[in-house]
């Protein structure tokens, strides 16, 4: 069959990573075009990859008639505009999270996507991680019975720059957003209430920038189950990513991946190596898997596994957490 022609909009760190993964691991995709406002910074690299159509203005990329889909990996505040333009141009969309920091704009995107009849997948890659996918399989197969509790621990090895934090929308929109999606993915339920507890324990500069660096959120789910997410911006021992789903018949626990399976025994103790430090290392498989499933959806004309509405729900939960943090109270979520 002919390959799907993809255009990558935003060729910074993540964009380049997507291009590499698509070229190496997704045979049904031809990385046909790329666009970036600072295209000079990456044009040489893009040409070396064999990408023929390179633009500074993404609207020019959208004019390519053969183009089937776009991957949006630009700064967050441009996602909605580019997504809308892409959908209106009849291109399927893979959009990095978050779709936008406001409910209004995400709903706009959903409207346009519906009218344009294109597929829209959000880059919540952790659903595609081999560990978390396997936990969900156990849940789906009934191995843990009725879900009672979902626990997510998610800690970064180090905080991002203060400049980044200032425009990120805060910890819940930037970091915990993955975990909100994870809770929905594992439970198959919606979040009906949240209570957020935040603290500034890692770096006073983060507090000065108006954000928190440590948080525990407890969530009530529409199926009666309980969930908990705890985040920290700094785990010195590595990128700590664990998920547990506990139920009436048992529990499924995903521990951290290890870089290797080697143990060292000495007079002191038994030791193994630290957890992978950088999210691109930890989630390489997931980044690839999400494209495999996106392409399958295009090919078989089925639903994408995580779509614009999933993107909206995660934002709604994050905003409710922002409110809970401000008021110090439980916040209920209402969905239309």
């Amino acid at each position: 069959m002919t390959k799907f022609k993809f255009g990558i909009i935003g060729t910074g760190r993540i964009g380049k990573f997507h291009i590499e993964n698509l070229m190496r691991y997704i045979p049904d995709v031809d990385v046909y075009a790329a666009a970036d406002v600072m295209i000079d910074a990456s044009s040489e690299w893009l040409e070396e990859q064999g990408i023929k159509h390179i633009y500074q203005d993404y609207t020019d990329l959208l004019k390519l008639e053969d183009l089937d889909a776009v991957v949006i990996s630009t700064p967050t505040d441009t996602h909605a505009d580019i997504a809308i333009a892409s959908a209106e141009a009849g291109k399927h969309v893979f959009c990095e999270k978050p779709v936008d920091l406001t409910v209004e704009r995400v709903k706009e995107v959903i409207e346009v996507v519906k009218k344009s009849n294109v597929k829209f997948q959000v880059g919540f890659n952790r659903r595609f991680d081999h560990n978390f996918r396997r936990v969900r399989e156990h849940v789906e197969k009934g191995n843990i019975g009725d879900i009672h509790t979902v626990l997510v621990t998610s800690r970064d090895p180090a905080p991002p720059s203060i400049d980044y934090i200032k425009s990120s929308g805060g910890l819940f929109l930037d970091m915990m957003i993955h975990d909100f999606d994870m809770v929905r993915y594992q439970s198959g339920a919606e979040v009906v209430a949240v209570t957020a507890h935040g603290a500034n324990l890692v770096d006073p500069a983060i507090e000065e920038a108006g954000d928190i660096d440590t948080a525990i959120v407890t969530l009530e789910l529409s199926n009666g189950a309980l969930a908990m997410i705890n985040n920290s911006r700094q785990a010195v021992y590595g990128y700590d990513q664990r998920v547990e789903v506990f139920g009436s018949k048992g529990q499924a626990v995903a521990h951290n991946d290890k870089p290797n399976a080697v143990e060292l025994y000495t007079t002191e103790d038994i030791s193994t190596d630290k957890i992978p430090y950088f999210f691109l290392d930890r989630y390489t498989g997931a980044f690839v898997n999400q494209f495999t499933d996106f392409v399958k959806a295009l090919k078989d004309e089925i639903e994408v596994p995580v779509n614009d509405v999933d993107g909206l729900r995660a934002i709604e939960i994050a905003l409710a957490c922002n409110e809970s943090l401000k008021t110090g109270q439980r916040v209920e979520l209402k969905y239309d």
């Binding site: 009725d146 009672h148 509790t149 626990l151 621990t153 800690r155 209430a193 209570t195 507890h197 603290a199 500034n200 324990l201 890692v202 440590t214 948080a215 525990i216 407890t218 009530e220 009666g224 189950a225 309980l226 969930a227 908990m228 705890n230 920290s232 700094q234 785990a235 010195v236 021992y237 700590d240 506990f246 009436s248 018949k249 048992g250 529990q251 110090g328 109270q329 439980r330």
Partner: protein, 344 residues
Amino acid sequence: MKKVKLAVIGAGNVGRIHVENIVNKLDNAELVAVSDFYPEKYNEIASEKGWPLARKEYREILKDEEVDAVVIATPAALHGDMIIESAKAGKDVFCEKPLDYDKEKIVEIMKIVEETGIKLQIGFNRRFDKNFMKAKELVETGKLGDIHVIKITSRDPSPPGMEYFTAPGGEHCSIYTDTTIHDFDMVRFFNPAEVVEVYAMGSKLINKDVEEITRDDTCVITLRFEDDSLAVIDNSWEAVYGYDQRSEVFGTKGAVTVENDVFSETTLHATEGIISEKPLVTIKDRYGESYANEIKAFVDAIQNDAKVPVDAYDGLISIVIADAARLSAEENRPIKIKELMPEM
């Protein structure tokens, strides 16, 4: 040094663990008397094992000058008055948790303990578990730096029976006062800072279809300390795979995690997969040694006239936090501890 002469009041499941430990594992103490309102079951076991037989009347024990200290392991509703009587009789007291469900009563107990000068230790045995003691050592030796987040998972293998709710004093019983109470003490054990706020989220999931049971059987509780650090506890009354007791302390320099003790370290590698043993199920199996350790520490404190390692204040705070958690779950709002602290 002279052995401390102990009496065990209440020879049920927990009382018998104490009896066995004192007889077999403690060389600084001697078991001189046992009492229970219904001594038949205990006496059957005691005659086989050569333990002292139980009498019905505990007050005889309190009058006995030979007895130095008592271990109270009766039903919770009886604890408060028994502690007071024992204190007035001049006996040092080790009392199973909770000291009482009523925090005002605990304040009264604390006053009498101070007046009479006796030692009172509360049975928060998990502080004496070798796993949690090692975790605490890592915290104290600075391996974790400043504590940021404490995370505890504490699940029982099966829920209490209906008699738990219908017995006298049953209206006070809840997952917060009976199960989480250990975890409220453990977070304070790991981080000695005071707890200032509690938020509890509870649900009835195990007994979902049982109309007679109205109380929560599953909960997730968040706590904030005065140093701004956080803790989260998740409980369930039914982990079908065993007694799930895991803790984690996370800080600036690292984290310590404690996994479950299991039946054995044997693993089967087969075509079906890699199969290992489940967590231990009974309190005796999982925590038996910690029961011996805590009594030993109690006896050491008596012999050396030192402070007991976990006292009435720890007992009081755990009930205040439990009350706050119960209120929080009922009213769906965070509760500040100072709202519920009694007048001291």
